[in-house]
């Protein structure tokens, strides 16, 4: 008898439907009316996504106040990188006591964003910035460096300009 009643009155299904119904009505009746909307989906490419301050994005070389590259070629970052994506060539520059990186190549396609390089650098000359839209159409776009076409180790890279918002 009990079993028959339970088959007749689908209380379990109603319980499930009440959960979905609650969420539906919350979103449906308060849409555009509340400061903090109930729905959690963000309109991503139009509304930029927020990242936390410690976010690990793309590797960026820093410059000091005089516009000089801060890196002094101690090669610590090159050695610690688990995927060996950093290649540095030591060199000299006139009017600078410290060694100067003639080449600082960064193969972003193999970088795993672990931040070991930043941790190992004792001169605070690199950071991982907050850029996370790092897709590109061409493989060459991932070869970054200080000179030539890939001269973009200092700013957010041109990689990632292909987002929907640009169209």
């Amino acid at each position: 008898m009990n079993k028959f009643l339970r088959t007749l009155i689908p209380a379990d299904i109603a319980k499930g439907l009440s959960v979905t119904g609650k969420h539906f009505s919350q979103v449906f009746f308060t849409a555009n009316r509340r400061k903090v909307p109930f729905h959690i989906v963000s309109e991503y490419p139009e509304v930029p996504a927020k990242v936390q301050p410690r976010f690990r994005g793309r590797l960026t070389l820093l410059k000091d106040e005089q516009g000089e590259i801060k890196c002094v070629c101690c090669l610590a970052c090159e050695k610690i990188c688990p995927t060996q994506v950093i290649t540095i060539e030591k060199g000299k520059k006139e009017g600078r006591k410290m060694p100067f990186p003639v080449r600082y190549d960064f193969e972003m396609e193999r970088c795993i964003f672990c931040e070991f390089c930043v941790e190992s650098c004792g001169f605070d000359s690199i950071i991982l910035n907050h850029q996370f839209e790092l897709a590109a159409y061409n493989r060459e776009d991932f070869s970054l460096g200080t000179e030539g076409l890939g001269q973009n180790m200092f700013e957010p890279s041109h990689v990632g300009k292909f987002s929907v918002a640009d169209d």
């Binding site: 319980k15 301050p53 795993i112 672990c114 931040e115 070991f116």
Partner: protein, 366 residues
């Protein structure tokens, strides 16, 4: 005219309910499975060998990529195995933070499991709700270490940085709503007749079989064996925590569901205790500049969300990298129980069995 013939089919490797690239070879008699063998190796990267060629410090990034749903738990095992090898004592505050993040990771991993398992069986709604909460856990990961999935959260000897400002707020916000969210999932599933029909009594694995096959984690606890490394061999700060080991005796898919749901509640409890009793102090032990090992071997097991994850490390004199590195991956060993669970059942229940195993192929194939 009609012949009774067995049919052999492949489930996977690109089947959405095999959770990655698992191929299951099935021999069917009508709809009944008579023979079932999981075929693995599609995601093999040679993580163990790679780690043998990298320094102890660098090895951690590969543990992230084994079980990517519970990267923090893997990092913890790796860090603690190394600390055992080098004889390092980790400061107490670091232990607490590790425990805290590990439990958050358990919640995230179980939420993925809940969502995908329910989706395999046909309840899509839970998937969306579970991923909503998982998003908050990933935000907490991001706030602490800067990355959401492949965390590289810990360092040998402690932590890289202390908790960020505003971390408590994130945690309390999560804890405040999490129990009501769990109730939501349970309202959708626990009493649901379709869910019960698909899970109760399906894919049984008795305690004897589970122990014989070396199955650990929620799979074992759903068979009635209260074995949890957090209690049996406490690591990190678990010896100071007050929590229970949820068990069930039915040993079916439904019991595993109940065990994992109860575990999430316990995790929330541990997180609360960690936040309340967080000691002050440094988060990094004093280390030599370069870690060089002695001749030594260690095995360190921790309780990852999937079961016992063990790291076996052999050191060579003066070496920068491990001489031998081996991972006892819980998913790999739990997967061996699939034939036991699936053979004799219906083919539709194979999906439920795979789902209840909670496997991640990155860890199985390594």
């Amino acid at each position: 005219m009609f012949k009774n013939e067995e049919m052999e089919i492949n489930l996977g490797p690109q089947h959405p309910s095999t959770h990655g690239v698992l191929r299951v070879k099935l021999r069917l008699d009508g709809e009944t499975v008579t023979h079932c063998r999981p075929m693995i190796g599609y995601l093999h990267r040679g993580v163990e060998k790679i780690c043998e060629n990298q320094s102890f410090f660098q090895g951690q990034v590969w543990t992230d990529r084994m079980d990517y749903c519970s990267a923090v738990a893997n990092n913890l095992g790796w860090a603690e195995a190394n600390e055992k090898l080098f004889g390092i004592t980790v400061p107490r505050r670091a232990q607490y933070i590790r425990t805290l993040l590990n439990e958050f990771n358990r919640i995230a991993s179980h939420l993925i499991w809940l969502g995908t398992h329910a989706m395999d069986i046909g309840a899509l709604t839970v998937f969306l709700y579970a991923f909503r909460e998982r998003e908050d856990v990933l935000d907490i990961n991001e706030a602490f270490c800067g990355s959401r999935l492949t965390t590289t959260a810990f360092r040998i000897g402690g932590l890289r940085e202390d908790l960020p400002p505003g971390f408590e707020k994130l945690v309390h916000k999560f804890l405040a709503k999490f129990s009501s969210c769990l109730e939501e999932y349970e309202n959708l599933l626990t009493e649901n007749r379709i869910w019960k029909k698909r899970t109760v009594g399906v894919a049984r694995l008795s305690a004897e079989d589970a122990i014989a096959l070396g199955v650990t984690g929620p799979m074992l606890r759903a068979a009635g064996v209260a074995y949890d490394i957090r209690k049996a061999f406490p690591y990190a700060a678990y010896s100071e925590m007050d929590f229970e080991i949820p068990t069930r005796t039915e040993a079916d898919t439904y019991a595993r569901y109940q065990v994992r749901m109860a575990e999430m509640r316990q995790s929330a409890r541990i997180i609360q205790q960690c936040m309340d009793g967080m000691p002050e102090g440094p988060v990094m032990a004093k280390l030599p500049k370069i870690l060089r090992s002695e001749v030594n071997e260690v095995y360190h097991a921790t309780e990852s969300p999937k079961g016992e994850i063990g790291y076996y490390l052999v050191g060579e004199k003066g070496s920068l990298n491990p001489y031998r590195f081996h991972v006892r991956a819980p998913g790999f060993i739990n997967l061996q129980s699939l034939p036991k669970m699936a053979e004799g059942g219906l083919i539709a229940d194979v999906v439920a069995a795979i789902g209840s195993l909670d496997i991640v192929l990155g860890e199985i194939d390594r």
